[in-house]
């Protein structure tokens, strides 16, 4: 177990870094001794720099599309949007942490992790397009009012994340209790119970086959909905700008390209998360009896993280101090 935990913690550390979490805070170095540039700090700084350039470039590209109306300009806009999506998603947010936590706790199939990543990114894009398209383009809301609606959606998303976390925790605890009962009663569990009884099968065949049943897909879709309900402010700003410039359609295309870029970044993280979980379980699998506990530990962890994360985000003061936006 120690080996497993150590490994899992290591992989999780890597994951968290990939998710853009800041390394643990370091005490300020004494005196004026120059700090060695850390590769991570430098990389982050570089990514932020690139992101800023891409963002400014996007505004120019929208102008070009408007003024020239050429294929070249449109292609340039889409290309920039795509890369902006890739880089922008490398920062925290975009539900990466949510998806990672969910996958660490609940998902076995890498394939499904990728699908969920693409679906959540696509949903985020659709939410942004719908918000701006319906509210601003059709109903004539001004930008600030659209942002207010986005804030409400954001809160709903956080509440849903906490809800999913709570559900997963309760479900896992019930499995643990049921699992122990089952053990005592010689696996005499009732197959008609539908609360993810598949855990018990591991006791029989020592393999981890989480059946891709409707229940897991439903949970996955709940995660997608929770993440996707929250529109990306970057996309909203680009769409509002395109609308004001009279090229809303290109704003929609740009958002789609951005979502694709975001999806790729998130999918990479999803693969890492699934991989981490599988490695941890495989190692645990060589140690009799602990397999199930590791499985439950991971499930519980994933659920708790989602619960805490959702609540923390709900409790945090609104993060968007757009000066004068109020």
């Amino acid at each position: 177990m120690t080996r497993t935990s150590a490994l899992a913690v290591l992989v999780v550390l890597l994951l968290a870094s990939a998710a853009g979490a800041q390394p643990l805070p370091m005490p300020p170095s004494p005196g004026d001794a120059p700090l060695e540039p850390s590769w991570w700090g430098s990389l982050l700084a570089y990514v932020q720099h690139v992101q800023g350039d891409l963002y400014r470039g996007l505004a120019k590209a929208v102008h070009a599309v408007k003024d020239e109306g050429s294929f070249r300009a449109a292609f340039w806009l889409l290309g920039l949007s795509f890369f902006y999506g890739v880089v922008h998603a490398a920062g925290p947010g975009h539900g990466k942490a949510v998806i990672a936590a969910y996958l660490v706790g609940n998902e076995r199939a890498v394939r499904r992790g990728i699908i969920l990543s693409f679906l959540s990114a696509a949903t985020q894009g659709v939410t942004a397009i719908s918000a701006v398209g319906i509210l601003a383009a059709l109903l004539g809301f001004i930008s600030r009012e659209v942002a207010d609606v986005a804030t409400v959606l954001e809160m709903a998303s956080y509440a849903m994340i906490a809800g999913i976390g709570g559900y997963l925790v309760v479900q896992t605890v019930r499995s643990i209790i049921a699992g122990r009962d089952t053990h005592a009663h010689h696996h005499a569990h009732d197959r008609t119970h539908d609360h993810d009884d598949h855990h018990h099968e591991h006791e029989h065949d020592r393999t981890l086959v989480a059946p891709e049943d409707d229940t897991s897909w439903r949970k996955g879709f709940a995660v997608v909905a929770a993440v996707g309900m929250r529109p990306c402010m970057g996309a909203v700003l680009v769409l509002l700008f395109a609308l004001a410039q009279g090229v809303f359609f290109f704003g929609v295309l740009a958002t789609a390209a951005m979502s694709l870029g975001t999806a790729i970044t998130v999918a990479v993280l999803a693969v890492l998360a699934s991989g981490a979980r599988n490695i941890a379980l495989r190692l645990a699998g060589t140690m009799d009896g602990w397999l199930l506990w590791t499985y439950w530990g991971l499930s519980l962890t994933g659920g708790l993280i989602l619960l805490i994360m959702g609540l923390a985000l709900l409790a945090a003061p609104p993060i968007a101090p757009l000066p004068g936006a109020g």
């Binding site: 805070p25 700084a45 800023g52 505004a59 990672a100 994360m309 101090p321 004068g324």
Partner: protein, 218 residues
């Protein structure tokens, strides 16, 4: 206990990343260090030029008389709103005198300009106590602790001296510091209302240092 350790590690590592610490607003900043006739610094002048996306966002709906342009009074209303609303954010200005975070008064000369699709907000932030840079070190930086807004000095003429600046005084601009890991989120740890005393040493944002050579006072 290992499971608990695993869980704690996960929670600790993932939580900070849950905050939305990536910028959605970019600001090009110019600032001026304003000297009085006696060579004392009494205020910092700030000019923020917003990116085009945010500029469009912020000015949407301010054209009250619908004449398709932003009149002086419409822009002034916006500037006044900023000056009022930014108080809770310390105007995103962290000024240290003698190593301590200095108090400032309310901004004066607040003004907004809209040019070539970009909004610029200008204001002057008076120091509660004017400071003689020959005897007291002055440093300042402008950043958003939540990193929702990326504020960076412009490449050229990012900082200027105005008024009767003693010849012995000069400034050094420490650029965005990539050596500070997590820089870009770092500021998250700065509490907006009760910042620590060492804000400028811990920030990764660009910092302006003003020094006046000792013994060369005019």
């Amino acid at each position: 206990m290992p499971r608990f350790a695993l869980l704690s590690a996960l929670a600790l590592l993932l939580l900070p990343s849950a905050a939305e610490a990536h910028p959605h607003v970019w600001i090009d900043m110019r600032s001026s260090v304003n000297f009085t006739d006696k060579g004392v610094v009494d205020s910092i002048g700030v000019s923020w030029t917003f990116d085009e996306f945010y500029s469009q966002f912020a000015t949407d709906g301010i054209d009250k008389n619908n004449n398709k342009k932003f009149d002086a009074n419409e822009l002034q209303d916006l500037a006044n709103t900023y000056a009022k609303n930014l108080k809770d954010y310390r105007y995103f200005m962290y000024i240290e005198t003698g190593g301590k975070l200095a108090d400032t008064g309310a901004p004066t000369n607040a003004k907004a300009v809209f040019d070539k699709g970009q909004l610029t907000f200008v204001f002057r932030l008076p120091l509660a106590k004017p400071v003689n840079p020959a005897t007291t070190k002055i440093r300042y930086s402008s950043f958003d602790p939540t990193y929702y807004i990326d504020i960076a000095p412009t490449e050229s003429n990012g900082v200027v001296f105005t008024g009767a600046a003693p010849k012995s005084c000069s400034f050094a601009l420490r650029k965005v510091d990539s050596t500070r890991a997590g820089a870009l989120n770092l500021a998250q740890s700065v509490k907006m209302t009760a910042p620590t005393t060492d804000v400028l040493n811990s920030t990764s944002a660009a910092v302006v240092d003003i020094t006046c050579a000792v013994g060369k006072m005019p």
